[in-house]
Symmetry: C2
Subunit: 436 residues, 2 copies
Amino acid sequence: MRLSRYFMPVLKETPGEAQVISHQLMLRAAMIRQTSAGIYAWLPLGKRVLANIEKVVRREQDRAGAIEVLMPTIQSADLWRQSGRYDAYGPEMLRITDRHDREMLFSPTAEELFTAIFQNGAKSYRDLPRNIYQIQWKFRDEVRPRFGVLRGREFLMKDAYSFDLDYDGAVHSYNRMFIAYMRTFAAMGLNAIPMQADTGPIGGDLSHEFIVLAPTGESDVFYHENWLKPRDTSGINADDRVGLAAFINGLNADYAATDEKRDLAAEAACGAALKQSKGIEVGQVFYFGDKYTAPMGVTVQGPDGAPVTPLMGSYGIGVSRLAGAIIEACHDDAGIVWPEAVAPFKLALINLRADDGACAAACDKLYADFTAAGIDVLYDDRDERGGAKFATADLIGLPWQVIVGPKGLAAGIVELKRRATGERIEVPIEAVVGRI
Amino acid sequence: MRLSRYFMPVLKETPGEAQVISHQLMLRAAMIRQTSAGIYAWLPLGKRVLANIEKVVRREQDRAGAIEVLMPTIQSADLWRQSGRYDAYGPEMLRITDRHDREMLFSPTAEELFTAIFQNGAKSYRDLPRNIYQIQWKFRDEVRPRFGVLRGREFLMKDAYSFDLDYDGAVHSYNRMFIAYMRTFAAMGLNAIPMQADTGPIGGDLSHEFIVLAPTGESDVFYHENWLKPRDTSGINADDRVGLAAFINGLNADYAATDEKRDLAAEAACGAALKQSKGIEVGQVFYFGDKYTAPMGVTVQGPDGAPVTPLMGSYGIGVSRLAGAIIEACHDDAGIVWPEAVAPFKLALINLRADDGACAAACDKLYADFTAAGIDVLYDDRDERGGAKFATADLIGLPWQVIVGPKGLAAGIVELKRRATGERIEVPIEAVVGRI
């Protein structure tokens, strides 16, 4: 993409409305603009990040055997009355009356609808286990939306729902999502710690929140210092029920809990290894058995012909929130430092002298070569000073910068800068595509 | 995907609720389920089709130089008051009051918000021309939603908005989208005829609807029979302003108009070549100048320093409606016949004897080989009769079927069936992956 033809209105000043660094940087880097309280437009750079986060989430859900569907955002209140949540949910639910005076709502989560859709399609024990997911916009009418996309009202969420015949199967489904979540967050460069958590309005017996440590987080969290080291999940076979359970039990042996689920005895046992900090929740997994299937009357025919009530879990990832959480974890004084997997472009190609014919020709050729090699490039071909171009490239945080100036070019050299370390090396111009 | 682990609850009977063939087939093939009047859940097969349609639309938008963003579904009423459309839009607009009693709405289209976002980011003539688009869910509270996704209330739309400095530029932006639309629909196997159309609530001077002919369509349309032959756009360079305009003027020389824009003199000139039929609108393009930028006070600084009011067009494609429109155009008595570009899987692998060890082993190997070759396969590994498997494969309409039975297998042969023609040929099992 040529920057001269793009839409990336970066801001020099930090907007007063933004309190936390991720919100400031998302505004400054022209990723988002607020359109109403807690509601954001995603500008081109932000949309690319969102799409990349979605891609990682989808890949790991598919790998875990979950099947993608898509539910409508506007749902009937009747369905939520069956589960008893229509009255219980409170003012966070955006309630709507349509032109025929039917009571509707903007889905804040979708346990009821997934349960109904499953019931419509699954008849026999052979149709289980299943895990069905979507990536869809949700709305929660927060009384005080804040911190940009970290606590917005309209937000993009991946929500999955598992259906099993028995408790052991349901726990395995839970464990499968548990490991998929660890892989998802690790692939984005995050150390998201699974912590025992309260089940809140979803309900149920068992829940973990995946927490990214950040001083600007809203949750107080308590954990053994072992969690500061990322865990390696590469050797884990999620089809091996016993091995997977053993791995997850091993993880849980290291204490980690949110404020609501503190265990003072376990904390005492940690001794000096106990850490306390603030954290951002990027995902949560729940097991809640028949909390929805029982009141909604969902059964399938069991192997012996008798009806069986499926046991469920649900599994959320805050896709739009992750854009902010990653920035909270990955930035420096100059701006964002994107992990490769979610970076909006892989590299910034910076022409230091757009008015110099040789520089422009060399950059145009590099741009064509990178593009032909399948590398996403943002090409700063604007007629601006080098200093402004460096500042913009650092602000938007692409992993690599290729810098082309007249002096180097005369010697056949360009500069290659790695954003994360600031390291700059000189590279022969014909070798630079191969280096990325 | 193994069908034994998928979620594809096909229906044997045609549901009474569905009047048109695409709605019937989308329900029977387990693509969608209605969740409220005019609101649908997309089951796994339907979600894959929707994603494939999105992919084609996105590819052609990007190729035309449009830049992707994403706007929220819930918008402030204030913005719509600036353009005067809040009161004008009528009961099709889903109006919402949030917990702080602010007036909001579910976006039925997004001229106002794109104009505001553009104004926020573009300051100078150098920031034009731009074309910015999104693929996002919209809501129109139709009084009588019907025909499944062809006239739903919540629907997925691609909407693009162009901003130009002068009339000639704006017409070129219009023409660029015009040709992009022809390419988009052709890539999906559709002959969508551009017809002169009324501008409706969007407003403006110039509009074309892209119409797929179908007896179940809701629009009466009138056109020269030359339009029955698809047009070749492959040689057109959309950067060549003059050549592109000449090509489009040439197209428009053949009469085609919707009911509201009939020209009886032009129809008389067609003579016996005039055709009348029913059609489904799958896209519409508008030029409306300063209809939004003027009342919203949008200007950029021109080359001479004086403010310029940008001229706009907008360009919609009904992404979810296309799923239905394609089926209206592509089906036979046995079910759907997907064009390759949007088919949910490329082929059905049918094991005629799931209880036969040799058949299962051969199919498992073919499944692995197809997958390794990057070919999306739906593998019918269920313990069902061959007849039921054939009927399901024909119903869901994947372009190819590979049929494995014990007799053929003993001779090293499988059957390859092309869904569109019904043609079946015998192929040596080791050659079949290469044939696809």
